[in-house]
């Protein structure tokens, strides 16, 4: 009989205990309403095992199973995947804004304006080759062209170098996150070995996995009863975390000066992890290597083609004044190697063909032709030495090699010009050229021209001041398909680069929008399940408060009954 009241007290005690725990859980939820990554906690209650008596089951109150996280693991896992794509496209989108700014073509101050002015100044020179100021303007515009190309390339390179710094930053972050995940693995096992759920540690570990997933491509496997996670690199499979162990990443420059990321094994073995399998890291590598890398190459090709094609025409012509002496703009590394071979070290060795060129020597005072010297060129055998000897043999000219460059001088009272270069050796040697250099870094206007604009070879014959045929040929060059392997004109080639950048950038922005929408969608659904609603917690507060009051009342009543019984004795 006393048993019934004792039981009631016991049940009441359990009820109070449960209510207190519930209130504490509710207050934990309320306190963490704005904590990122916090999953709502819930008290798991069940009824105690009843006592089986002959008369039937007697309940023994409420049992607290656990405080659990309200958590949908499938949603969390899809978030990890989505966040990886989101991280990649967000990175690419940001970098593209900077790339687009370099190419300023929407505001009309970009390179296209500079190149238009360049071609137009050639046309102006062709309108009147005697116009010295038109020549000065041409040189100025040509210098702008080479400066712009150089600036664009170097601005792109700056972004690449910034990307390298960011890669290092990402690697540092990954390394510290991975370390922390490993230590959380250990903490969670320890904490849960005594029975309770390590909810806050688990929340923290999930948050870290999400951060990690945004930075690099990982695969997460739950192990040990779900208490531990093993984190692997998605593409290559190397482990980053396993139980309490962790591995680190490092960075190093490769042969071409590009930063690469490596996975480190404790034995010292390094493995190049490529683009990292996704996330911000992949975005950074993509932009640096695939995008910027290819834009720079296109730019260099453009510069190379412009230099080459203009020089091929320019070297055929004659300026308003002839040469007393000239020094070539390109140097050969070995004067005894054929100028048409790569071993010569000449940047445009590939232009050289079997053929010849002439040097015409004139007497200054009466402009009479005293010698026409034809130099035969065989691309596989004629060396710079041979050419020098050939020219030097002339009675009116002397030739020497100055630091790998050809130097030609006329005897006093004589001057010379060039013609009919079917071998393009003059272009390869940098003699009578308009541009020097071979790519965006070193492109410049030849010093022979900048020091004397009358040397701009607008004519095809000497002493014919209005002969503009070579200048006309250069103007024509604009419409010739000489770029991109002979498929496009120079203008089309630059436009296709601008287009390419616009399209690539748009793809990145669109993908980002798409991933952002998906990510938001999943985050909202997670919030729906695991997010704290203050209103809900308020109601819980009332709920448990009433339960607590009722249980306290129960104790009061049971206590009085017991008292009555005791009085009876």
């Amino acid at each position: 009989m006393g048993f019934g009241i004792n039981n009631a007290l016991d049940v009441a005690k359990k009820a109070i205990y449960a209510s207190q725990l519930a209130l504490s859980t509710t207050s934990q939820n309320i306190a963490n309403v704005n904590t990122p990554g916090y999953t709502k906690q819930k008290l798991i209650l069940s009824t105690e095992e009843p006592l089986n008596l002959a008369k039937g089951d007697v309940g023994r109150g409420v049992r607290v199973e656990n405080v659990a996280r309200v958590y949908n693991r499938y949603l969390e896992e899809s978030l990890f995947d989505t966040v990886r794509s989101y991280g990649r496209w967000k990175t690419e989108g940001e970098k593209f804004k900077r790339i687009e700014d370099i190419f300023d073509e929407v505001s009309e101050n970009g390179f296209s304006k500079t190149i238009n002015q360049f071609w137009e100044s050639w046309q102006k020179v062709s309108d009147d080759p005697t116009d010295e100021s038109a020549r000065e303007v041409l040189v100025k515009n040509a210098i702008f062209v080479s400066q712009e190309l150089r600036r664009i390339k170097s601005d792109l390179k700056v972004i690449s170098r910034d990307i390298d710094e960011e890669i290092k930053g990402v690697v540092d972050d990954v390394n510290s996150i991975v370390k922390e995940i490993a230590s959380l693995n250990v903490k969670i096992v320890d904490h849960e070995s005594i029975g309770a759920n390590a909810n806050d540690y688990r929340d923290r570990r999930d948050e870290l996995i999400k951060e990690l997933s945004e930075k690099i491509g990982i695969q997460v496997v739950k192990t040990g009863d779900d208490k531990q996670v093993t984190v692997l690199l998605k593409d290559t499979g190397e482990p980053l975390v396993d139980a309490g162990f962790f591995w680190q990443l490092s960075t190093d420059q490769d042969a071409s000066g590009n930063l690469r990321v490596f996975w480190k094994d404790p034995s010292g073995y390094l493995k190049d992890i490529g683009e990292g399998g996704g996330g911000i890291l992949k975005g950074l590598f993509e932009v640096r290597d695939d995008r910027i890398g290819s834009y720079i190459q296109k730019l260099d090709n453009f510069a190379n083609t412009l230099i080459k094609e203009i020089n091929k025409i320019h070297t055929q012509g004659v300026g308003l004044s002839l040469y007393d002496e000239i020094l070539g703009d390109y140097e050969t590394k070995d004067v005894n190697k054929p100028i048409g071979s790569q071993d010569s070290g000449l940047p445009f060795y590939g232009l050289v063909k079997d053929g010849s060129f002439s040097i015409k020597v004139y007497k200054k005072d009466d402009k009479s032709l005293v010698e026409e010297r034809v130099i035969n060129i065989s691309k596989d055998s004629t060396t710079l030495s041979d050419i020098k000897d050939s020219i030097d043999a002339s009675g009116y000219l002397s030739a020497e090699i100055d630091n790998g460059r050809l130097k030609i001088k006329a005897a006093t009272g004589y001057e010379f010009s060039f013609a009919d270069d079917t071998s393009y050796s003059l272009s390869a040697l940098g003699i009578n050229v308009f541009f020097s250099g071979k790519d965006s870094d070193k492109m410049a206007v030849s010093s022979n021209i900048t020091s004397d604009v009358s040397k701009i070879a607008a004519s095809l014959t000497p002493y014919a001041e209005s002969d503009n045929r070579n200048a006309l040929n250069i103007v024509n060059l604009r419409e010739k398909k000489v770029a991109d392997g002979g498929k496009l004109t120079m203008d089309e080639s630059y436009r296709s680069l601008v287009s390419r950048i616009g399209v690539d950038a748009r793809e990145a922005h669109r993908n980002l929008e798409h991933e952002e929408t998906i990510k938001k969608g999943i985050e909202e659904r997670i919030q729906e399940v695991s997010g704290v609603s203050l209103d809900e917690e308020m109601i819980n507060l009332i709920k448990f408060q009433h339960a607590f009051s009722a249980a306290a009342k129960l104790i009061e009543v049971a206590d009085r009954l017991l008292e009555d019984i005791i009085k009876m004795v």
């Binding site: 309403v33 704005n34 593209f96 804004k97 687009e100 190419f103 073509e105 929407v106 505001s107 009309e108 296209s112 304006k113 238009n116 002015q117 071609w119 137009e120 046309q123 102006k124 062709s126 309108d127 009147d128 005697t130 004519s459 014959t461 002493y463 014919a464 001041e465 209005s466 002969d467 503009n468 045929r469 006309l472 103007v475 024509n476 419409e479 203008d491 436009r495 601008v498 287009s499 950048i501 616009g502 399209v503 690539d504 950038a505 748009r506 990145a508 922005h509 909202e524 919030q527 729906e528 695991s530 997010g531 704290v532 609603s533 203050l534 209103d535 809900e536 308020m538 109601i539 009332i542």
Partner: protein, 293 residues
């Protein structure tokens, strides 16, 4: 769908942010006057605008070429017209002095006039524009013929100077002195006529008439060619002017913002933003907390 508290704040914030971005975007359009800011917003139209800009700027250059060509052609035409008159005069003199009404004295007198004409022909040959001889081919710094009447050598070359008047289209702006004065033999004819008049040689005087006819018709043909070229140049000018208008318009359509539309978009976006802010303020205020305790 259950809404958690953080989600509530997030939804409200995102709505506001979205509207701020719209306002910022229209602000940019109004202040720059351009439809877009980044190439990626419309890569196709940016690419097209590059083409139109190039075409528009080359129109300017082409028009300069057209004017240059035209001034040469007009000067040439003027010179040839004067030359024609002189040849016609010589023919008239030759005809009259070849008849019986003339005599040794009249012939001698006429020879002075013919000598004068011969000098004037040399002057015409030496016509210059901007300091350049128009009848010397490429050697525009050199007079095509000597002033010395007994020297009929041509000092110019056969260069026909081409100049761009439209994209990919060139025109010759000159006629060479050898075509005008040597092939037509006018210098020799003038000297021979003068000599014939001086020496009272009637048959020789008559000979010159046929030669003069020849020369006159050759010069006519050259003048016709020059006239045709002047026409071409005039038409090219008109075409370039049209192109200039067309390209300017297309370029504007492609890249310039419609300012009225942009300003009204901006105003609307600002109104929407204000409404969103106001709604946000209200929805963030009330929770159960306020009502329960």
């Amino acid at each position: 769908m259950k809404v958690s508290t953080p989600m509530m704040y997030d939804i409200v914030f995102r709505g506001i942010d979205r509207n701020y971005q719209k306002v910022a975007k229209y602000q940019e359009v109004v202040s720059s006057g351009k439809k877009i800011r980044y190439i990626s917003e419309d890569p196709v139209s940016v690419s097209e605008s590059l083409i139109y800009r190039r075409d528009l700027s080359s129109v300017e250059e082409n028009m300069k070429g057209i004017n240059e060509a035209k001034s040469w052609l007009v000067a040439t035409e003027g010179a040839l017209s004067s030359l024609s008159q002189l040849l016609t005069r010589m023919k008239t003199l030759a005809i009259s002095q070849a008849t019986g009404t003339a005599n040794e004295e009249t012939r001698k007198d006429t020879s002075y006039e013919v000598e004068n004409i011969a000098s004037q022909i040399r002057n015409i040959a030496a016509t210059r524009i901007g300091g350049k001889h128009i009848f010397s081919g490429y050697k525009t710094d050199v007079a095509p013929f000597s002033a010395n009447l007994s020297n009929t050598a041509y000092y110019g070359d056969s260069g026909e100077i081409e100049i761009f008047i439209e994209n990919g289209v060139r025109i010759k702006k000159n006629v060479t002195g050898d075509k005008v004065f040597v092939d037509t033999e006018v210098l020799d004819i003038a000297n021979d006529l003068r000599d014939a008049l001086q020496s009272n040689d009637v048959s020789k005087i008559s000979e010159q008439i046929g030669r003069l006819d020849n020369a006159i018709s050759k010069i006519s043909a050259i003048r016709a060619d020059i006239g045709a070229r002047i026409n071409r140049v005039n038409m090219a000018y008109e075409r370039e002017e049209d192109l200039k208008k067309t390209f300017t318009e297309i370029l504007s359509n492609t890249t310039d913002a419609d300012m009225t539309e942009a300003v009204s978009d901006l105003s609307l976006a600002q109104v929407v933003l204000k409404a969103t802010l106001s709604a946000a303020a209200k929805s963030l205020q009330t929770t159960l907390l306020d009502l329960m305790f």
